[in-house]
Subunit: 305 residues, 2 copies
């Protein structure tokens, strides 16, 4: 990242704030979304709806939190400890409350008096789905259409790298062949959708930001096996374009972790396509300008703006 | 709460789960929402949209988190410590990660190795708005249409008492007279909306569940001054009906706390109407049955189901 990139990020963020598309909160990576931003979001979501007719068995919307008991069954704390969000709560009575308030008022660390709640922030919208599918799948497997808010603790001045954002995902759970086919068909479908709103995306083989020295091997393996594709588009840098959608084949990782079996008893394989809701809106503002009124007519029509 | 209520809650939850409207997560008060549930939510939201035309200056959608620096300026930790949610993150390097993993694998309390992040869970959707309005308001004040996810740490077996749920709010910031008028006009508008979907709501003077012994006075004061109204409807108990919307006049509490001034320099007064998105859906399922296909025709038409 060079200083030109930093300047470009700052300039783009300032433009979005001036237009009322994003509202700063004082926390890097955390913004309120304005009405026009949300209209763009709804427009693209409706476009996905239309492309997804007949492509899933059911729709699910989970809250931004999921069970800590499920979190600890995954390897997230090993692979992405720097991104996790753990929710802590106050469980005391009057006496403990008085002590909490004393620390609060005397600027001591009152957060040490809290206890871990039964929930963690959701790292990707498909996480809460897998534990709910424990058991044996129907012969045809399952395909689930999901949306929700996710959390990644990576404070950044890049408006395209938010701490809390939405994903729309289509998740396939079944045989390995069906998971691969789902990933590849949706990668093409996603390209076509992003093409309709005139975003110049490029597919690239991707890898996740596995943490630390131990993460190097995982990163290399994921890349070598070509498990994950991303569709990238320049937002705040042309040299390091931003992923606005990703299609990931997880092998039988979630099937093993949460005891999801195929009809023949072997662990289920899973894959998902995820749309980065905010990043797509940001890419549209970057590519077509801050005011949707001035966007190309076909893009406005596609998004019903 | 008598055992009849507990039975009614369990039976209603079982019905919702069987219908695929809610998906349990193993955490009391935390559920995934199914496709039909979400269609009902979208239907009521569109009804609110239609009633709200011309009733606000702007729309804003904040994430489920807001700045810890703003949280500590409020009295939330004094009034509702039992409901707060504090987000903690891992900020170490490789060495600290190894120690975190050791604790994790040996079932020690690894959460003590986390540090409080710059964010807290949002307790009500209007919280992130006020700090963003610091300064002097325009002469006419401001009215903002908001939606978002909120968190209240009150694990419960009552499906109408969720830990994480959505609110749609209309917030007024300006003179005391305009804040009161906003509250009262929206209370009537909300009654009319809930009447259109044939929910038998009753307005009641309400008070918030201020914590502990110290909270008794605050509770009595709020009630005495008739600051907050709720529209209640039986969901899991006829004796203790559930609030599905509330209209609250905060006097100049938020104006004082966040330095929001009226045009004349005095602290702004605020009020809000909030719709409990999930509770309205649940009240509809309870009142009209688990299958929207069998709901009264006018209700189906109003919700475009």
């Amino acid at each position: 990242m060079c200083s030109t990139d930093a300047d470009a990020r700052a300039a783009f963020l300032a433009e979005l704030v001036a237009a009322g598309h994003l509202h700063p909160t004082g926390v890097p990576g955390l913004y309120g979304r304005g009405g026009v931003f949300e209209a763009v979001v709804r427009g693209f979501d409706a476009l996905v709806d239309a492309a997804a007719v007949g492509q899933s068995d059911e729709r699910r919307h989970y809250p931004p939190l999921f069970a800590r008991a499920d979190y600890v069954r995954t390897s997230h704390i090993q692979s992405f400890p720097d991104l996790l969000g753990s929710v802590h709560a106050f469980t005391g009575k009057d006496r403990e409350h008085m002590e909490l308030l004393r620390k609060f008022h005397e600027h001591e660390d009152w957060t040490r008096d809290l206890a871990p709640a039964a929930v963690m922030m959701v790292p990707a919208v498909c996480y809460p789905l897998y534990p709910s599918l424990a058991g044996t799948l129907p012969e045809a497997g399952r395909t689930v259409d999901m949306e929700g808010w996710v959390f990644r603790h990576e404070p950044s001045d890049d408006p395209a790298r938010m701490m809390c954002f939405r994903q729309r995902e289509f998740v396939r759970v079944g045989t390995g062949a069906s998971a691969l086919a789902h990933r590849d068909a949706w990668l093409e479908r996603a390209r076509a959708l992003l093409d309709r709103v005139e975003l110049p995306v490029t597919p690239v083989v991707a890898n996740d930001p596995f943490f630390g020295r131990g993460g190097r091997l995982a990163k290399a393996t994921q890349r070598e096996q070509v498990l994950k594709w991303e569709l990238v588009v320049p937002i705040t840098s042309t040299e390091a374009p931003t992923a606005v959608a990703s299609a990931n084949y997880h092998l039988d990782y979630f099937g093993q972790t949460f005891g999801i079996a195929q009809a023949d008893g072997s662990p289920a394989h899973t894959s998902c396509i995820g749309f980065g809701v905010e990043r797509i809106a940001l890419a549209l503002f970057k590519t077509h300008g801050a005011s949707p009124a001035a966007w190309p007519a076909p893009v406005r029509a596609a998004l019903e703006l």
